[in-house]
């Protein structure tokens, strides 16, 4: 990232602090590709929680409980300690690694964050080490590690270079390249595992796939999709224990949707700057408000702006406040009050064939409801 880009980003952030979006940030963009506001914040490196508090003046709310953070950290540590013995055992039991394939590199252990060191420098060194390890694997060097814990890769997403840290990369000696692994402390309950958790973890693993493809491309690989197929592993937790379970996942849908989301406009800093008035910054509520959002029922799961967007939707009478089905079904009407007019046959007559069709449907449903209730 050159300094002029740094300067432009800093100007767009205004007084707000920078926050590296990471895989989770891009996963959120992929969840709601129509939300330009979230995309803009991600491009310039502002966390939605920061925007909610500092731009809109909403009360600060914790995203995650300290107890949940503690168990997550304990599980991550348990996976990495003793030379990632748990992970090696997991992959051996699954038949993915042999007993000889035990080369492990734990990147943060090689370059720990010391109190005297500059964080940026530490990250740059980790990135260099990871790059070398990836090149080693690409050369088919038999000394290339089978497991890399917390590698740091530099990828170009939304037109800018970002550091991404997949939890783990794994490959047997015979594999051509690495596969991303996402470690989550969710209890693995087979078919009963929370599907939203699995989807979210899979999307984060998909960011790892996109990142590896990005790097492979930079290294001159022609067929990146063949080298890095849309596959990833989820490492979850046995309920009530700190033991891992392995779930190989096909991530084709997630990778496709992520790539599509990244290509949507504004897909880079230039497009974002063109959207905004000259000299404006996203710490100004009016500027942030002028960027279109796309409030959905799932927004509250991952975006701190959800409550603000919901209030705006309520104020506008947007059908989305009644759910995603209402948003789609009542799209022709555009607002709740208009939908009610169409249902009752009051107000202006239907203006379009779509409104006419919707009016008939709603009137019929309204009659049936009144009769039945």
């Amino acid at each position: 990232m050159n300094s002029s880009v740094d300067g432009r980003l800093a100007r767009l952030r205004g007084s707000l602090p920078v926050d590296e979006p990471g895989a989770r940030g891009f996963e959120r963009v992929a969840r709601n590709p129509d939300c330009t506001r979230l995309r803009a914040l991600t491009i310039v490196g502002i966390d939605s929680a920061t925007a909610a508090v500092q731009v809109y003046g909403e009360p600060a709310r914790e995203g995650q409980s300290p107890f949940a953070i503690a168990i997550g950290n304990r599980f991550d540590r348990a996976m990495a300690e003793n030379g990632a013995a748990e992970l090696l055992e997991l992959y051996r039991t699954a038949g993915r690694l042999t007993t000889e394939e035990c080369k492990v590199v734990i990147v943060p252990d090689m370059v720990p964050i010391g109190s005297r060191r500059d964080l940026k420098h530490v990250m740059a060194v980790r990135q260099t080490i990871t790059q070398k390890l990836l090149e080693q694997k690409l050369r088919r060097d038999p000394k290339a590690p089978n497991i890399i814990v917390k590698p740091r890769v530099l990828v170009t997403l939304l037109g800018l270079d970002h550091g991404i840290e997949p939890d783990v990369l794994v490959a047997s000696d015979s594999d051509a390249f690495y596969r991303p692994v996402e470690i989550k402390s969710y209890p693995d309950r087979a078919g009963k595992t929370e599907s939203a958790d699995i989807r979210s973890a899979s999307r984060q693993a998909a960011v790892g796939v996109v990142a590896l493809r990005n790097i492979a491309c930079r290294m001159g690989v022609r067929d990146v999709a063949a080298l890095v197929p849309a596959l990833g592993d989820l490492v979850l937790r046995i309920p009530g224990a700190l033991k891992p379970t392995l779930r190989p996942m096909t991530l084709k849908g997630e990778v496709d949707s992520l790539e599509r989301a990244i290509q949507e406009a504004p897909s880079n800093l230039e497009e974002l700057e063109e959207m905004l008035p000259a000299g404006s910054a996203l710490d100004d509520p009016l500027v942030l408000e002028s960027i279109p959002n796309s409030y959905r029922s799932s927004c509250r799961e991952y975006c701190a702006l959800a409550q603000h967007c919901k209030q705006a939707a309520v104020a506008n009478g947007d059908p989305v406040v009644l759910g995603d089905v209402a948003r789609e079904t009542l799209a022709a009407a555009g607002s709740i009050s208009r939908a009610l007019d169409l249902a009752r046959g009051t107000g202006a007559p239907p203006r379009t064939p779509a409104e006419q069709a919707l009016a008939e449907q709603l009137r019929e449903a309204m009659n049936e409801y009144r009769e039945a209730v």
Partner: protein, 482 residues
């Protein structure tokens, strides 16, 4: 458009600032002895209970907490305390020939009980806790079955009867649903909903509360414990944790009780199918308890054959419940009409043709103006007024908004009689078949005697054509396999 009735009800609820009823009958069996259980887990520790409120319908709760559920001994103390109450309740139900009914606030609470049942029923060290896990399994295993009455979520039960003016996902928060149903007088419902949303109503405490209140108290307790503080000091710290947790779980318990009261106060006639559902629940419970008495093991994962039977049970329960709602609830019927699952129209050309001695063929046409119709040739439809009359669709003609469906009676011609010309009738799926599952099980037992190639070592069978070539009526043969 799916769920048009519910969408219209939501529109009207949003406009009026009050939830609207979307059922003409009561869909749940409210057991006067039901037990309300409100457990809260520590965030991230999904196999624990940090605090629980428990009590019978209409009764005040008992509370129990552990200062830190990550300490196994403390946690098992809570499980034993809870087990005493659950075992006594289940035993009481069994001795009365009744079935137990547990109410929780919402799906996350039901999921927490499920994960606890999975974890505790295999416990080898503590037989009381093991028994607790086994009994809990009865309710949690029944939970995914449509029409079950063993484990009820307050949000689910309310959703069956009310439409709110918010998103469906937001209906999982019991507090907001209650605000919509009984909005406070003189206050804006949306502002009230926004304030209520901040109060935890599921199975976990709020992250901000955890950081600002609970975590410091738990740390304080753990520190004192590590330093071998005197029992009084330790008890004082444990009490501090208990007090703050009770303040969180009490509204959840009160909300669940209030939901049950609201359903009772609706004074709706019970769905006639509830009698059959209660009977089934009693049978299931007695079978479950007998199976425990006989020492049968509860598997964590089913083998293919029991899994197939369970799947068939669930499908049957779902079909029966859908059918019961369609036949017995006016709103259910209206939904089916709009979805096109019920054919409503005017009878035309009713004919009775003499084929031979005591043999007649009855046929008719039904002319409908429905916008959406989901009817195919060969479908067998029942007269909703008297389901003994059944007819098979022989032809469908559509001209603009008018659809003419030709039918031939397959049964009930003499018992019910051919509808008259000009009569408006409704035809749709048959009535619930509560004994159908017995026939299905017999049929499945025969078929599953030989495991299919997907679950055996025989490999993929060869693609050799059947002797005598393909059947003349392939669709008929396939339908015959049902």
């Amino acid at each position: 458009m799916a769920g048009e009735i519910d969408l219209v009800a939501r529109l009207l609820a949003f406009e009026s600032g009050k939830a609207l009823r979307v059922a003409s009958h009561l869909h749940v069996s409210l057991q006067p002895h039901a037990l309300v259980v409100c457990p809260l887990a520590m965030a991230g520790e999904d196999t624990t209970i940090h605090t629980v409120a428990i009590g019978h319908v209409g009764k005040p709760p008992e509370f129990r907490s552990v200062p830190d559920p990550r300490f196994r001994e403390d946690e098992y103390g809570l499980f034993t305390w809870l087990a005493d109450r659950i075992v006594a309740y289940f035993d009481g139900c069994r001795s009365r020939g009744d079935f137990p009914q547990i109410w929780v606030s919402s799906s996350p609470a039901a999921a927490l009980l499920d994960i606890l049942a999975d974890r505790l029923r295999y416990n080898r060290d503590d037989l009381v806790v093991k028994r607790f896990g086994e009994l809990l399994s009865y309710a949690t295993e029944r939970f995914p079955v449509a029409g079950q009455q063993a484990l009820m979520t307050a949000t689910g039960a309310l959703r069956q009867h009310f439409a709110t003016g918010q998103q469906e996902a937001e209906d999982e928060h019991l507090g907001t649903v209650l605000v919509w149903i009984e909005p406070p007088a003189g206050r804006n419902v949306l502002a009230e909903v926004a304030a209520t949303e901040l109060i935890p109503m599921g199975a976990k405490t709020d992250p901000t509360f955890d950081r600002q209140v609970l975590d410091p108290l738990v740390r304080d307790y753990n520190q004192a414990r590590r330093k071998n503080a005197d029992p009084k000091a330790l008890a004082r710290r444990a009490q501090a944790v208990h007090d703050v947790l009770v303040n969180v779980v009490r509204p959840v318990y009160e909300g669940t009780q209030r939901a049950i009261r609201i359903l009772g106060r609706l004074n709706l006639p019970p769905l006639p199918a509830l009698a059959a559902l209660d009977e089934r629940e009693r049978d299931e419970f007695q079978n479950f308890m007998q199976s425990r008495d006989a020492g049968f093991h509860l598997p964590l994962k089913d083998k293919p054959k029991p899994a197939a039977f369970k799947l068939a049970d669930r499908e049957d329960a779902m079909d029966n419940m859908e059918s019961a709602v369609l036949h017995e609830d006016r709103l259910g019927r209206a939904r089916a009409r709009l979805a096109g699952d019920v054919l409503r129209g005017t009878v035309r050309n009713p004919r009775k043709v003499h084929l031979g001695p005591w043999r007649f063929e009855y046929s008719l046409e039904v002319v409908s103006q429905q916008r959406v119709l989901r009817v195919r040739r060969r479908d067998e439809l029942s007269l909703l007024l008297d389901t003994r009359l059944k007819a098979v669709v022989t032809d469908i003609q559509r001209h603009g908004r008018t659809t003419t469906v030709s039918l031939r009676l397959s049964s009930g011609g003499r018992a019910v009689g051919l509808p008259h010309a000009g009569e408006v009738i409704e035809l749709g799926p048959g009535a619930p078949d509560w004994l159908g599952i017995i026939r299905t099980r017999v049929q499945m037992a025969e078929r599953l005697n030989n495991p299919p190639w997907t679950h055996s070592d025989s490999g993929i069978p060869s693609c050799k054509p059947q002797d005598g070539g393909a059947p003349r009526d392939l669709l008929g043969v396939l339908e015959g396999l049902r």
